[in-house]
C-alpha cells in the first residue's frame, strides 16, 4: 500500500490505528471532563458530553396570567405573556394543557384550553389566550411544553465552585503547602549530595546506601509515629499539632531521598577535572559548591523541583494526616474528595472543581516537560 508517497505495510497501518485508538482512550476521559465543566448544569445532567453541540430536549411547565392580567380587545378578552423563564434560549416544539399528552399541539398552533377560548403558544414561549367572554380564573392555567435548548457553554460552574464550594480557598491553601515544600528541600539536598559525591568521610558509601533504601520506604510507615510526635510537640508547646510548618517539614523529609539521589547522580557526572583544578587553585569545598557546582546543577535542581511540586500539589494522604479539614487548611485534593462525598451527583461542581485542581500541574507539566522527563528517567526507583 502506498500512503503519502511512501510504501507502508499492512502491519504498519494496523499499528497506526492501534496507536490512534490508545491515544483516544488516554485523552477522552479528560476531554469529557473539560467539556462537561463548561456546559450549562441543566444540560450536563440531561445529555452526555459527547452530544454537547446538539440541542437538548427538555420538558417543563409554565403558568399563564390570571383574570387580573386580561386586557379587553376588539373581539373580546386576551391574556398574553411568556411561558419560558426570562432569558431562556429554549425553543418550544410542542405544548399542551394536559400533562399526559404534552406533545398534543405544535408550537404556533391554536387550540381550545379550559373550555374558555383558544390559546396559541409560539416557539419563543409567548402565548396568547383569547376569549369572547371575560376571564374569571384566579390562578394561572398550567401549560406543559417540550422545548429544545440550544447548547449553552458557560463559566458559571467555575464561578460557583470557586466562590461557594471552597475550591478557591483550597487552591490558595494548596499553593501555600506546595511552594515552600518544593523549595526548602533543594538546598539541604544539594549540600548533602555534594558531600556524598566529592568529599570523603568514613561511612560515606553506607550512609548513601541507606538513602537509596529510604527511597522506597512506604509513606505509611511514617504516618503514625509522626502523628504522635506532632501531637506531643503540640501539647508540650501549646501550639496546634496540625500546621503548615508541620506539613512543609513532612514533605521535605519524604522528598529528600529522591532529591539527594537525583542530585548525587547529576553532580557525580560533572567532570572530575573541573573540581580538581578548582581545588588546586585553592578553592574550598564551600566555594566549589556555591560558585561552581550549584550553577552547573540547575537542570537537575529543576527536575527535582518539578517532581516534588507535582507530588506535593497532587498529594492527598499527607495532607489528610498533617492538616485539618478546616477552611483555612484544607487542600484541593482533600476538598475535591469531600465534594465527591457530599455533592456526588452535582457533576457541574465536580467537573469544574477537578479541572481547577488540574490546571497548575498541567501547565507546569507542559511548560517544563523536558525537565520532568529527565527527572523521571533518572529517579525511576522512588517509592
Amino acid at each position: 500500500m502506498k500512503i503519502a508517497g511512501r510504501y507502508v505495510t499492512g502491519g504498519q497501518v494496523a499499528g497506526q490505528f492501534l496507536l490512534l485508538f490508545l491515544v483516544v482512550i488516554w485523552t477522552l476521559p479528560t476531554v469529557g471532563l473539560l467539556i462537561s465543566s463548561l456546559r450549562d448544569k441543566d444540560q450536563l445532567i440531561a445529555s452526555g458530553w459527547w452530544s454537547a453541540l446538539s440541542s437538548t430536549e427538555i420538558t417543563n411547565q409554565g403558568r399563564t396570567g390570571t383574570a387580573d392580567d386580561q386586557v379587553e380587545t376588539a373581539g373580546g378578552y386576551e391574556i398574553a405573556g411568556n411561558l419560558l423563564p426570562e432569558d431562556s434560549p429554549a425553543e418550544i416544539g410542542f405544548w399542551s394543557d394536559n400533562i399526559n399528552d404534552i406533545t398534543a399541539y405544535e408550537a404556533g398552533q391554536s387550540a381550545p384550553v379550559d373550555d374558555t377560548g383558544a390559546m396559541t403558544v409560539n416557539a419563543d414561549g409567548s402565548y396568547s389566550w383569547v376569549s369572547p367572554e371575560p376571564f374569571t380564573l384566579e390562578r394561572g392555567e398550567r401549560v406543559f411544553y417540550q422545548a429544545f435548548v440550544p447548547p449553552i457553554f458557560t463559566l458559571d460552574n467555575y464561578r460557583e465552585v470557586l466562590a461557594s464550594e471552597g475550591i478557591g480557598r483550597a487552591f490558595i491553601n494548596t499553593a501555600t503547602v506546595a511552594i515552600p515544600a518544593t523549595i526548602i528541600p533543594i538546598l539541604i539536598a544539594a549540600f548533602c549530595a555534594y558531600a556524598f559525591t566529592w568529599m570523603s568521610f568514613p561511612g560515606r558509601n553506607w550512609l548513601f546506601a541507606i538513602v537509596v533504601g529510604l527511597l522506597v520506604v512506604p509513606l505509611q510507615m511514617s504516618l503514625i509515629p509522626l502523628l504522635r510526635l506532632y501531637n506531643d510537640v503540640g501539647a508540650t508547646f501549646g501550639v496546634e499539632a496540625k500546621s503548615y510548618l508541620g506539613i512543609w517539614l513532612a514533605h521535605t523529609g519524604f522528598g529528600l531521598p529522591l532529591a539527594i539521589y537525583l542530585l548525587r547522580n547529576y553532580i557525580g557526572s560533572l567532570p572530575r577535572d573541573l573540581i580538581e583544578s578548582a581545588k588546586v587553585d585553592g578553592a574550598t569545598h564551600f566555594h566549589i559548591f556555591t560558585r561552581l557546582v550549584m550553577p552547573l546543577s540547575v537542570p537537575a535542581l529543576a527536575s527535582f523541583a518539578i517532581f516534588q511540586f507535582l507530588w506535593v500539589w497532587n498529594d492527598l494522604l499527607v495532607a489528610l494526616v498533617f492538616l485539618s479539614k478546616r477552611e483555612d487548611q484544607i487542600v484541593l485534593t482533600s476538598q475535591l474528595r469531600e465534594l465527591l462525598g457530599s455533592r456526588g451527583d452535582n457533576w457541574e461542581i465536580l467537573t469544574s472543581g477537578a479541572f481547577i485542581s488540574m490546571i497548575v500541574p498541567l501547565l507546569v507539566f507542559f511548560a517544563l516537560q523536558r525537565y520532568f522527563v529527565r527527572g523521571l528517567t533518572a529517579g525511576s526507583v522512588k517509592g
Binding site: 452526555g48 501555600t176 494522604l317
Partner: protein
Amino acid sequence: MASQLIGAVIAIVLGIGFSLFYFAGTNWALDHWLGDRSDAAGNRVSRAHRRESIRPWLFIAPALLILGVYLVYPVVETLRLSFFDDTGEGFVGLANYIWAFQDGEFLLAIRNNLMWLIIVPSASTGLGLLIATLADRVPWGTVAKSLIFMPMAISFVGASVIWKFVYDYRGPDAEQIGILNAIVVSLGGDPVHWISLPFWNNLFLMVILIWIQTPFAMVIFSAALRGVPMDTIEAARIDGAKPVQIFFKVVLPQIMSTVVVVWTTITIIVLKIFDIVLAMTNGQWNTEVLANLMYDWMFRGGGDFGRGSTIAIVIMVAVIPIMIWNIRRFQKEEGMR
C-alpha cells in the same frame, strides 16, 4: 487569607535564609576556629586535615537530621507500635498480627492488593512498551506520546473524578451521561452500576491507576528503545526476521533491565495505593486495600495505632525485597564507576 500567603512567603525566605545561614555560618566557624596557627616555635601548623574531616558532616547534617526524624525513626517506631495496643502504651505481643490474619477485612485487603499487584504493573508495563514501540515508528509519534503522557500530571483524586464520570450510572429510563453506560445502552444493553459490581469493580478502579502509570512506563521505555543499537535490529532484519520476532528476540532482551525497573517502581506505587480507593469507594463493595484500611484504623474509633502500625508493617515487608535489590543494584553500579 492574605496573612496565610504572607506566612508562606516568610516560610520560604526563612527556610532558605536559615539554610544559607547554617551552611555559610558553620563553614566560617570551622575555618575560624580550626584555622592554621603558629606553634610555640613559630612554625605554621596546618590543621587542614582536621578541618576537612569535619566539613563533610556539616554538609550532610541537616539532611541526616530530617531523614532521621521523618523516615528512620518512624520505621523503628512503627515496628515497635505494632506490638502495642491502640494507644501505644500497653505491650500486646503478636496480638495485632494474630488479629490481622483472622480479620475478614484485612484478608480481603490482602486479596485485593495481590490482584492490584499482578494486574496493574503488568498492564502498565505492557501498554507502555506497546505505545513506546508504536510511537517510535510513526511520524506523529511525538504528538501521540505527549497526549498519552498527560494523565501523569493529574492527581489520583482528579483522575478518580474523571473516571467516576466515565463510570456514571443512571437508571435504565434516564439518559446515560457516563460514556461507558452510554456505549452499553447504545449496543442494546442495560446500564450497569460499575463501581459496585462484585469483583469486577476492583478492575475498574485498577484501570484508573493503569491510566496514570502507563505514560510513566512509556516515557522510560521510549528512552530505553533509543539506546538499542540499530545494527542489531538491521542484522536481524537482513536475516529475515519479522518485526514481532525482532521485538521479542532482539529488542526486548536488550531493554530487560529497564522493564524490571519500571515494573518494580509501579509495584511500589501499587502497594501504597490509597487515594483512588478512598475517593471512588472508600473500600465499600469489597474494594478495600491495605493502605486505605490502615488510614481507616488510624482514625477509626479514636484511632488504633497498634493495628494501623501492623498494617503498615505488612506493606513494608512487601517492599523490603525491592529495597534490598535496589541497594544491591546501586552498589554494583558504584563498583563499575
